[in-house]
Structure formats: C-alpha cells, structure tokens
Symmetry: C2
Subunit: 198 residues, 2 copies
Amino acid sequence: MSKILIFGHQSPDTDAITSAITFSHLQNALGKETEAVALGKTTAETQYALDQFGVEAPRIITTAAEETQEVMLVDHNEAQQSVPDIDKVKVLAVVDHHRIANFQTANPLLYRAEPVGCTNTIILKMYKENNVGIPKHIAGLMLSAIISDTLLLKSPTCTEEDEKAAKELAEIAGVELEAYGKELLKAGTDTSSKNADM
Amino acid sequence: MSKILIFGHQSPDTDAITSAITFSHLQNALGKETEAVALGKTTAETQYALDQFGVEAPRIITTAAEETQEVMLVDHNEAQQSVPDIDKVKVLAVVDHHRIANFQTANPLLYRAEPVGCTNTIILKMYKENNVGIPKHIAGLMLSAIISDTLLLKSPTCTEEDEKAAKELAEIAGVELEAYGKELLKAGTDTSSKNADM
Ligand SMILES: [Mn+2]
Ligand SMILES: [Mn+2]
Ligand SMILES: [Mn+2]
Ligand SMILES: [Mn+2]
C-alpha cells in the first residue's frame, strides 16, 4: 500500500513545513506509514531551522492522487490552499489553527483545530496525549514554527499555550529561546524569499 | 454577558442530548459559563437515561441569536442539522464524530472530531486531557450515549476506543454494562418516538 502523504499549505512557511515533519513522526510512532512532503520550496527561515537540527527539506509534490489515496493536512484546511487534486484523495486527518472554510469530507475523520498561534503547539499536545517521546530534532522544529508564527511570542495570535510550549521545547531542543528565536527570524529577513504568513 | 449555549443536532438522539450536558459540565469546570440546551424533544430512550441518573432534560430552543452571541456544537456540524439561525452566532467549538460538510467559520475555533462511534467517547478523552473529574451522573449519561450510538457496542461504527470508554464509564456510573445497555435500548423501542440515528 502507498504511504499516507502529510503536507502543509502552498507557499509553505516554517509551520507548514515542520508540522508535516513533526506530525508524520508522531503518526509513524503510532503505527501509520506516512511521509512528510511539501507543496513548495522552503524559505530561508525554514531552511535555517532544518539545518540547525539536521533535518532534510521534504520533497515537493504537485499532485497527491498520482501516488497515494490518503492524505493528512497540517496548518491549513481550505481546498484552494492545498494540493490541486485534493478532491481526488481521502483526507484522514487535519491539524490546524485557522478558521474552517471550503472544506468537506465524505467520511468521518480526525480533525484537530484549536485557536492557538501555531499548528505545532497542537501537535505537541498530541505527542503528550499519546505518550510519544519528543526527540531533540523534532522539538527544535516545533520550536522554530512557534517562533515563526508568533514572531517570537509577540504576535496578537500568540496564546499562553504557545508560550508554555516554546519554553518547554527550547529545553528539549537544547537552545536558548530568545537567542535562537532572534537568529531564526533574522535568517528569514536576510532574503526576499519569505512566503506570506498564513 | 449571556451564557454560551451548547447543543446537539435537531431531532436529538441520546448522544446529541447528553453530549451537550457532558461537554457543558466540562466547559464550566474549565471556567466558561455555558448552558446545555436542545433543538428538540428527548426520546423515550434519552428520557430513560436522564431519569436513571437524575438529570433534567435540557430546555428546548428554536433560536440561538436571540439570547446569545456564542455557541458550541456537539454531535453535528452541518448547518442544516443545527439551529436555524446558526449563521448569526459565533461557533466557539465543535465536538463531533461525523463527516464535515456545510460548515465554515470566520475565525479560528476549537474543532475536535475523531472517527469513533460516539461524541461522548471524544468528550471522555477531553475530561482526561484537562484533568477534570467525572461525576457519577456524567459518566452514566456518557455511557448511555455510547450504548445508544453503537447499539451496545455492536454497530459497525463502534471502535476499540468506544468499547474501552464504555467499560470504564460503567464502573464510574455503578451499573452493569450489558444489563443496563439492554434496558436502555429496550426503553427506546417501547415507543415510536425514537429519532433517526445521526
Ligand atoms: Mn501556522
Ligand atoms: Mn502557515
Ligand atoms: Mn453521535
Ligand atoms: Mn446523534
């Protein structure tokens, strides 16, 4: 059977890329066969985070139905932000922190959305609920996404949960939150390639 | 400020009525001001469960917007199964086990769906995740909903999680699962008033 593909939105930001990686790691630990992929190139900011924690950028896909029948969406749900042939595959799961619109399924599914600042804040909770340990590189990627989505805990969308998660993840990742956060955001502004924040 | 109203679908079955009550109890324990209401009369089956655990049937509403600005939906998400003026209020949360369709929001929200046999199986997990204790009467109502939606753990939609939840809840509720389950389902067939299973 083909692998379940997991991906974030088009023009991926750091949360879209890393939540695919971190949610795929969780699903695989729970016995599923999944692969994190991307709907576009990583930005300089995201690449900095991947390099920092020794993780390869996910391969880019332009179609899902040609290689799988089942997908999981992270950091988005709206069809127009997803893979172009999203209507040809079965969505098994969604983890997201945005409004719900232009999304429907034929079957029941796992849908986990919370009004927090970052998809990875929700994924961290799911690791804990399922008693799955968080390796250092996964913690580093989750932390990078929270820093990116909340502008180092300063955005109006940042919640107490995001802040608590960031502090906890910084410890597991072995980095100093403020210092690493500034470096990461600086890496993103060093270039014009940053994707629009979604 | 007016209370947040929590309700299940029209023509409510036992899961629709009781998940409003059990999710409202959880939300109130977490500091929100909510009230469980219903979009229709309770069936004989549901009334049997309510009587068994000494709980009043929720009052029936025909409009939400006239008394509140904020609602939470349980055991449904589709607009045509909800309160007629659902488009005039803000949906803060949804807990459900059905497909997602004809549902959209302007803002991020809490959306918790899992492909299990009963909404109360998901709500039980949320009690645990939030470390909120489950009183005997709440356990009895949750159990009744699982028995009703899974036809005493025999329906094709019943999962291992529903089964595990039912056994655990029967202990807290102080009833024998098989015996109580048969009585409850019998109470529902003693009359023609049972609503269509949704
Ligand atoms: Mn995000
Ligand atoms: Mn994003
Ligand atoms: Mn149900
Ligand atoms: Mn129902």
